[in-house]
Symmetry: C2
């Protein structure tokens, strides 16, 4: 299991809910933590790489990048 951190341009609770909804559907993703104010999304992943997670997060239409 690997922990990942992303910067995601979220501006309201609807934004963070949308990101949470996308990540929740992914296989092997757990412990999703979203800090709306800092625009930071953290999660653990057993199957997907940071790049694969980022591709999914970007499907929300929000500017996103890998932090760690």
């Amino acid at each position: 299991m690997t922990s990942h951190t992303f910067n995601v341009d979220m501006t309201c609770g609807g934004c963070s809910k949308a990101v949470n909804a996308i990540l929740s559907k992914l296989d092997g993703v757990s412990n999703i933590q979203i800090d709306l104010e800092k625009k930071i999304v953290k999660c653990d992943s057993t199957k997907l790489t940071a790049e694969e997670l980022l591709t999914n997060i970007q499907k929300t239409g929000k500017k996103s990048s890998i932090v760690a």
Copy 2:
């Protein structure tokens, strides 16, 4: 060309920007109009059906449905 209307649960300018970004990338989609307050998204489409457009809009993680 067909005009479509969707109800999309957007709550801020970031939400509507995200929906606009997703629709803008689709082939044959034009005249995108978003009313954030009424949670309404309208667009014209030459190739994709309403169901196909809805599938793409739902990738934003927001609750969405076809209005017309």
